[in-house]
Amino acid sequence: MIGRSVSRRRRIPVRLDPGEVIAAAHGAGVVLGGARVLDDVTVDVRTGEVLALVGPNGAGKSTLLSVLAGDLAPVSGYAELIGRPPRRWSAAEAAMRRAVLLQQVSLSFPFTVAEVVRMGRSPWAGTEREDEDEQAVAEAMATADVAAFAERRFNTLSGGERARVALARVLAQRAQLVLLDEPTAALDLHHQEMVLGVARRRAAAGDAVVVVLHDLNVAAGYADRIVVLSDGSVAAVGSPQQVFTSGLLSEVYMHEVEVLDHPRASTPIILPRR
């Protein structure tokens, strides 16, 4: 009832068709603490695709997500979220259009898992889509496999369990653009595959998913397109087969990398030379 009064002039988003550009950075540059963290980065994100961001630590992956999410305004170039600079949307309107999973998840008070996931529904409070709340929460909890500890307090969970709860919160938001910063970093093999499976299903349903990954094999197996960031710039963009070459990866990661053909699937296998 409180939410209703807050919702006065929010424009409910209209879903974009598959293949449309939902977010983009055009020649974006970001300076943090006096250092150039992103330099002339151009990336477009389309509905219906899983876009993977890969690159070494400190390459600027999280920063690029911040730019797309509207947390940071680029000092040069510009970003765009559904046709306008992300920061031109009000916080409430942006929240109905994009969901963000941050690399660091924290919670300052001991809410339960169910309460945390429910927080993902708050952008829709007072709108007609509020009716989906129960269903969205239940589905997100099932998808992220956190229903088993729905009533546990968040701060009593293990690292991977917390990561899955945070993911469930993001899924429950049901925004058409989903930005995931290393959602699999803390996850076991099964849950890692599960999360990327969710990303694929969301893309198939017409959403756009941007996911930061360190495991190149996972990226190769699930992403439609890959952006390789290196030292604040885009080193390569394209399909896994185009981007994952031994030469490029060895240079970007400053480590010998071998790329082999998978005996059965079309995705390449990436191995560091040991």
Binding site: A92, A95, F111, T112, M119, E134, A142, A147, A148, E151
Partner: protein, 394 residues
């Protein structure tokens, strides 16, 4: 229901989300137990408040039995409602005038001129302080934030002491609250601005900033005390000890609007405060205008604390102890925490004031001294507990 589900789930983890499609869509719903608990808590606190208020109003040099206190209130309510209806042309005889009236000749006067204003003021101040504490903790994302700790009450003391020294009365009985409110707000904003860096508030910075602002505020109060004439000096000293001594209806009417507006505003912020627990950025991603929320919340805190301490003086630790206890029972959700804290604070302060008035015969102990006496050790316990749990703070 959900506990049963969780047990089966943990034994046979499903290979895929599809397995769970047969579950009812309410699987993720908050367990009813917490809602029931919240309802019981709020109901219990309201009942406790009524009880402690009646007992307190009946206690003192002239003892009045609870039945007579309740009877007196009911008669007045009955008469009041009837004359209100009569004004609209409705003649009614409401059945509320039940129960005995005070048997002592001075009973009615004692209740309505001395005791009730004091009890009501205690309720308002307690509610204001506890709600302000809960708000503060919400916006700083830390259970240790407390109005007094971060310099609000010392700031308010500067304004109040200044009024006592200058004898200013430009706003009649509103002078002290307005002055205390203004300087309390300044101190709060100062602490807020000084303790934030890069969009975050580190606890150590927060507490140290509070220490710094408190030190300066105390120095200003000390100066005011120094230059004051004996009468004003006494006012300043006793104001700072905190007391509801001498509370009359004008004080209640002066405080009431601030507290009511503050409580309503606080409850309106509840949903956003919940989201703020995720951190500033995640809260923004969920649609919260974080900077605006903080500013509004801080103004509300200053309003609550400023008006609360204006007539009652510095009363510490209510804002720390009460929300913490409520959180232990009802969880951290602000939609329950804020109203329950208001009730809890009212109960605590009416109770504490009762002790202050009656513990020692013919003496009115300083209320702020009492709450600090109990609150200090509690704060220490809280500190230890949090440290051992979370391994300390950054």
């Amino acid at each position: 229901m959900s506990t049963d589900v969780s047990r089966t789930d943990s034994q046979t983890p499903p290979a895929d989300a599809e397995v769970r499609r047969d579950r009812p869509p309410h699987g993720g719903r908050r367990a009813p137990s917490r809602r029931v608990r919240a309802a019981v808590l709020i109901g219990g606190l309201a009942a406790a408040l009524a009880m402690v208020a009646v007992v307190s109003a009946g206690s003192g040099q002239l003892a009045i039995p609870p039945g007579e206190v309740a009877g007196s209130v009911l008669h007045r309510v009955d008469g009041g409602l009837e004359s209100l209806l009569a004004r609209f042309g409705v003649v009614a005889d409401l059945p509320l005038d039940v129960g005995p009236l005070p048997s002592h000749a001075q009973g009615e006067n004692t209740l309505w001129l001395v005791r009730f204003p004091r009890v009501v003021l205690a309720m308002l101040v307690g509610a204001a302080l506890a709600t302000a504490g809960a708000l503060m903790q919400g916006i700083f994302g830390n259970p240790l934030a407390e109005p007094a700790l971060v310099g609000v009450s010392p700031g308010a003391a500067v304004g109040a002491s200044l009024v006592f020294v200058t004898g200013a009365s430009f706003l009649d009985e509103w002078t002290v609250p307005v002055a205390a409110f203004s300087t309390g707000l300044c101190a709060t904003l100062l602490v807020y601005l000084l303790s934030r860096s890069g969009g975050r508030t580190e606890v150590v910075t927060l507490i140290l900033t509070g220490v710094a602002v408190t030190a300066v505020a105390s120095a200003l109060v000390a100066f005011n005390t120094f230059v004051a004439n004996p009468e004003a000096r006494e006012q300043i000293v006793f104001w700072q000890l905190g007391s509801l001594n001498g509370a009359r209806w004008p004080a209640v009417t002066a405080v009431l609007p601030f507290v009511v507006v503050g409580l309503v505003a606080a409850v309106l912020l509840a949903r956003s405060l919940d989201l703020l627990a995720l951190g500033d950025r995640a809260a923004r991603h969920l649609g919260v205008n974080v900077e605006r929320l903080r500013i509004v919340a801080i103004v509300v805190v200053a309003m609550l604390v400023g008006s609360g301490v204006a007539f009652a003086g510095v009363i510490g630790f209510v804002g720390l102890v009460v929300p913490h206890l409520i959180r232990m029972v009802a969880g951290p959700g602000h939609r329950v925490l804020l109203p329950a804290s208001a009730l809890g604070g009212a109960v605590l302060l009416v109770g504490a004031d009762l002790v202050a008035r009656t513990a020692i015969a013919y003496a009115d102990l300083p209320l702020g001294m009492l709450t600090a006496l109990v609150g200090g050790p509690f704060f220490f316990w809280l500190l230890r507990r949090t440290r051992s749990r979370a391994g300390g703070w950054a």
